[in-house]
């Protein structure tokens, strides 16, 4: 392989690594910390080799041997670095591939959903329904990017010990950001409530914890509260009450959804052997409209719980709370990517 061809490869790898190192790339790509150093080493060694080629003609034979030995050492070193870079490139490509596969699966589900909607015939306008979901998908991607940015901002602000006033602004933005999500979800629910309930818009690990179209408020309290200790006695009491009331509200909604499932099944299953099912379908549609109501109440509960949490806590505690919460979901998203990218036995 000609030397200049080698340099070309190295600089391409360098570019690829620069893209990966951007901190806000969707769900995280785990790139080893010393990649940047390797890039610099590559570029530096490229520059060093060139001058010694032109020097060769002007010096004596003894020096030639020395120079050749140095060149060999240099080439060996470069070779080792290239190998290391190549392996790291493979690792990050594997992660990227896993992510792309996940996105493709999601898009395929969307495709199935689209053909399903047009096949159903007569249930409203399939085109409108699709565009509502497509819009949500795009908006949600932006939402996650903005969330990651806010997490970084919170972490920096807390480490830098900024004033409470500045923290207050960050806490308010965090709360508003979640309120925006709930607004987006309300629109998506009108387009297709099943889409929200399925959790297909979230990553696989998040989906494992999915509850009526989103996260479970009491779970978030369990995650966040240990991260923001110490609390005053009064705060402990209020947090206990909040935990209990959110748990009770969740149980109530869960039971409501169970009842809805049961009565939907009864409606659909009524008169299976008689064949004619128009009346049953009408009753079933009514029940399904009730499902939108449950997703709406669940999001309302999420919002109320976050707002109450902010009320109970000091500004600094609330900031740590939002950071903890954001980081928690970020890690679940990262976990989903890692899981998808893990080495598997070929079938």
């Amino acid at each position: 392989m000609a030397i200049y061809e080698q340099f070309h490869h190295i600089s391409r790898w360098g570019d690829a690594f620069n893209v990966d190192n951007s901190p806000n790339t969707g769900s995280s790509t785990i790139v080893p910390a010393d990649v940047r150093l390797n890039n610099k080493a590559e570029y530096i060694s490229c520059e060093q080799v060139e001058p010694s080629i032109s020097d060769q003609e002007t010096n004596k034979p003894a020096d030639k041997i020395q120079r050749r030995l140095a060149q060999n050492r240099e080439a060996a070193r470069k070779s080792r670095l290239r190998k290391k870079a190549y392996v790291q490139q493979l690792e990050s490509s594997r992660l990227k591939l896993a992510q792309l596969e996940q996105e493709l699966e999601r898009a395929r589900q969307q495709g199935i959903y689209k053909s399903g909607a047009s096949g159903a015939g007569g249930f409203g306008l399939p085109a409108t329904v699709n565009s509502g979901i497509t819009a949500f998908e795009m908006e949600y991607t932006h939402w996650v990017e903005e969330q990651n940015r806010q997490i970084c901002e919170l972490r920096t602000a807390l480490a830098a010990h900024v004033t409470d006033i500045e923290l207050r602004i960050l806490v308010e933005s965090g709360l508003n950001h979640y309120c925006n999500l709930f607004r987006m979800k309300a629109d998506a629910a009108k387009a297709d409530v099943f889409y929200l309930i399925s959790g297909i818009w979230r990553t696989s690990a998040e989906r494992f914890f999915h509850w009526i179209g989103g996260f479970r408020p009491s779970e978030i309290l369990n995650v966040v509260v240990p991260q923001i200790e110490p609390l005053t006695d009064q705060q402990h009491l209020e947090v206990c009450n909040l935990r209990q009331s959110s748990q009770q509200a969740e149980d109530a909604l869960s039971q409501g959804v169970d009842k809805l499932q049961q009565s939907l099944a009864e409606d659909v299953a009524s008169g299976l052997c008689s064949g004619n099912y128009r009346a049953q379908m009408v009753a079933a549609i009514d029940k399904l409209e009730g499902l939108e109501n449950f997703v709406s109440q669940a999001d309302h509960l999420r919002q109320q719980t976050l707002q109450q949490m902010v009320r109970i806590l000091t500004t600094r505690q609330a900031a740590r709370g939002f950071l903890a919460m954001g980081e928690y979901f970020h890690r679940l998203r990262a976990l989903s990517s890692l899981w998808a990218a893990r080495p598997r036995e070929s079938a």
């Binding site: 009331s245 509200a249 109530a252 039971q255 409501g256 109501n293 449950f294 109320q304 109450q308 009320r311």
Partner: protein, 130 residues
């Protein structure tokens, strides 16, 4: 209830009536009367799953609510319309009254539970003991 019977409508006719009033009794008045008969009153419909959820919420808290199923009441239709007017929104059910006073629909009930105002209200109305 103290009534005077005149005309052919029996004992539900109010003693004073104008041409415009409903002769079988104002549904809103009936709602308010029913609401004041118990510490916790839930207006519901037997087929409504959100109503089931709100009932489970109170039972889960150890409260024993009194439930009025509008689809099983002969005057349910009128009361449903009156509740929609009262709430300013659809659906009419579930609606919760505590101590005779309107708390609201599901979202208001949940909000007041989360922000800690529901439990004191229930204790005040005698629906919950420590």
């Amino acid at each position: 209830m103290h009534c005077q019977t005149t005309g052919s409508w029996g004992s539900y006719m109010p003693t004073t009536r104008t041409a415009a009033t409903v002769v079988v009794g104002d549904p809103l008045e009936r709602i308010e009367r029913l609401a004041s008969e118990n510490a916790v009153v839930i207006f519901s419909m037997s087929s409504c799953c959100m109503c089931h959820a709100v009932k489970r919420l109170f039972c889960g808290m150890g409260v024993n609510p009194s439930v009025i199923e509008l689809d099983q009441d002969p005057r349910g239709r009128d009361m449903e319309k009156a509740l929609i007017r009262l709430l300013g929104a659809s659906p009419a059910v579930p609606v919760v009254f505590v101590g005779g006073k309107l708390v609201g629909a599901m979202d208001r009930v949940m909000a007041s539970h989360i922000n800690g105002t529901l439990v004191p209200l229930l204790k005040q109305a005698g629906a919950l003991w420590l």
